[in-house]
Symmetry: C2
Subunit: 453 residues, 2 copies
């Protein structure tokens, strides 16, 4: 059994065995499809720049995926799976060349029913919603890259997003119902994982199986209203955000806080942001708007902008200034900016958040996304950081961790180092079962690299 | 200004001025329509037995309500408003005779749209759902008397119920959007209250205005599955309930726990309840069922019964064994049983609940309904109690209160004594404005009885 992938120098016979499945060999195209948004991280840039695949393969359906998997296993070539490549940690950057498996042609939606949809991995999130909204439902949560990201990529490389203030994160039981996976063997198997078994491949960066189809729970497609609330001081906006998160009778999809000066990076929103103010970007159900307005007032804020549900398609989309789009807008203005990911402990008085808001000043600008965790609304942060050195960045991380803040570090491409910091024996065992040659996204799963062989 | 209502001995001219609005004078009928389910309380029975109105008036629409209000104001007769009379605290028992204003003919549903419905006060909850489900929505929460209770009565006299595990209670911001109220004056006004102003009449027992129409938020009509989970010990069921309440990715409508021997009172459910077991009655979204099954297993329970969404209309309805229907079934077996209402503090280890479960033994049988309060799933209880004396009942209440458990006492018909134990200045001020003669449900609002005049 070979445990180090091959590096083919001549791909002709490999391609011949694909029997006409679409491939891309143009170096520019291949290089482009070897990228994601790891450029957000000045730490990852030197590590990942220049890492490219040898060949992009674009199967059109599961049968073609099976065939690609068989050929890759036969030739022992590395396989890096990608959707739209909107991740930020180099999840789909190939460390050892090989095949880039572009899943975006798997565009089927076999069925949708109230509360659940069955969908192929390559369907874009916005496209999926368009279909499910026909019967009044929508996906529960989405990243800010909602218009381009695929459902398969979101599950394999994402963790939550807009909607997480109601439904928690992707890893929470019930947020992923089933996954269909093709194994990387000479005779690939197609496995259906359901119930808790989905955790075997959930957020595994495509290291242990090729996801072809998923069953995703849906939430109700409320008529959503977008709103900007401006506050004279950041902590008022924070207490407002917590109160809205805790308001069981108010339906919300997004509570996104931006301490001054972050709002100055949002060029399109400037007319609605009073100078020097701290803002909350909100998406709430139309029927909850009056309640939200009362709550904003209670915390000393002012609603400066609303977009009705009827106007949903018009103008800008507030969600595209939140989650990691905040970082994107900030970096468009100042490319030296980077970001952090932090999970604050649940605290009624938000004392830890307040301390951190004041401690670093403008070096760490506070951007909070509220989400539900273990049944409670908690502040998570994607702080915008004025980067100087990696040492200083690590110092900032350490300062947070010492105060009980959990940091899923976005400045690493190693699965376990970025997330829960622990080897996942279930995901490792599954990799051993479905990827015996270690070909899937090699170099990303620490558990595999450090296993006893 | 007269501040004590009149007791008319002859109603002929009163009725004449109603201009043909439907009335009922038959004493049996009037007596029946002067009742609610206060008989659950052995304390209330001696206080309320024999309290009857003089005349039932049944307006067909808001215009007729206005006319009735004008005539009642002119004659200074007390007015006790009722829907289906499914309350348990004598909310609609007339203490000083007079008119029973039966609102059940106000049957209009002016409009329904995604997430919100506009409805007249007399519409039954089940009837309302039938209409809103045509477009995929349903009311957010309902009492166990869902099939007969009216929406007006629920808002005026209820507090929450099935659905509260997701949306909290009726008093939470966002759970009641607007109320239309007729004042009790010679020239009645019709007022529309919106936003926080709805709290002026929310849960006021009809003491300060006649609710004719309401705007109610809706939740998504998931395909709901009913399930019974049996556990070998009560605390396992309790920890399971808390975990399900905290599971952000699992959609639920009901988490109702019944310590042995309460399940023995549920005759229809006996085939599904292993001898001596403690049960959880559950209503969860179809898409969440696999996740719930995994959670039941994790806590050592067994699912003994499920009813699919497709079979919703068939057989028994699990909801009708929960909330105050639990008390009803228990009292059908043993009329000496009564109940309590308790709100436990949020605790990860459920220590207070565990203490109470053990402390009183079979004198206080544990029945827990999980609900959301201030953003957290907390255990509320409607314990089934073996009643001996009022003194002993008060001793039990005191024991709970001393341990930080809030008791909204169900053994009083006084608005403030049963609920938040505090005079509500907003509701009092509104009564002074809309019911200057103090005719609406006299004797129920302590704030009015004790006001300075």
């Amino acid at each position: 059994m070979t445990l180090t992938p091959n590096r083919l120098t001549n791909w002709d016979s490999f391609i011949a065995e694909l029997n006409g499945i679409e491939t891309i060999q143009d170096p520019n195209q291949v290089a482009k499809l070897s990228q994601d948004y790891y450029t957000f991280s000045p730490v990852l840039v030197p590590q990942l720049t220049g890492k490219v695949g040898d060949l992009v393969v674009r199967p059109a359906n599961e049968a073609e995926v099976v065939q690609v998997a068989a050929v890759c296993a036969k030739y022992r070539v590395p396989v890096t799976i990608r959707g739209a490549g909107t991740g930020n940690y180099g999840q789909c950057v190939p460390l050892e060349g090989g095949v880039i498996l572009d899943m975006t042609r798997l565009q089927g939606i076999p069925w949708v029913k109230p509360g659940v949809v069955r969908v192929e991995a390559g369907v874009k999130l916005a496209q999926l919603d368009k279909k499910t909204r026909e019967i009044g439902w929508e996906i529960r949560m989405a990243p800010s890259t909602y218009r381009t990201a695929t459902i398969g990529g979101f599950i394999a490389g994402g963790s939550g997003g807009i909607g997480s203030i109601t439904y928690g994160q992707l890893r929470d039981r019930g947020n992923l119902l089933a996954v269909r996976v093709v194994t990387l063997e000479e005779e690939p198997r197609v496995l259906e994982l359901r119930g808790d078994d989905v955790q075997k491949v959930n957020h595994a960066y495509g290291t242990n199986g090729i996801i072809t189809e998923l069953e995703i729970p849906l939430g109700p497609a409320y008529p959503w209203v977008e709103a900007i609330a401006a506050f004279p001081d950041f902590m008022s906006s924070a207490h407002f955000g917590q109160a809205l998160g805790d308001a069981d009778g108010l339906i919300k999809k997004l509570i996104s806080l931006h301490a001054d000066p972050i709002p100055t990076y949002f060029t399109a929103l400037r007319p609605y942001i009073p100078e020097g103010s701290h803002i909350a970007l909100l998406i709430v159900a139309e029927g909850s708007l009056e309640g939200v307005q009362a709550l904003v007032k209670e915390y000393g804020g002012t609603i400066t902008y609303t977009k009705s549900a009827q106007d949903a398609g018009k103008g800008f989309n507030l969600a595209e200034f939140t989650w990691n789009h905040t970082t994107l807008h900030a970096r468009n203005v100042d490319p030296n900016l980077t970001y952090l990911q932090s999970l604050f402990p649940p605290e009624k008085d938000l004392a830890t958040l307040e301390h951190m808001y004041h401690h670093f000043g403008d070096e760490v600008m506070m951007h909070v996304e509220f989400l539900r965790m273990g049944g409670r609304a908690v502040p998570a942060a994607l702080q915008v950081i004025r980067f100087t050195t990696e040492e200083r960045l690590n110092e900032i991380i350490r300062y947070h961790e010492e105060r009980g803040i959990f940091i899923p570090n976005p400045h690493t491409y190693i699965l376990e180092d970025g997330g829960r910091k622990a080897i996942d024996p279930v995901q490792l065992a599954f990799k051993q079962e479905v990827d015996p040659y270690g070909l899937l996204n090699p170099g990303k799963m620490r558990a595999w690299l450090e296993r006893e062989v």
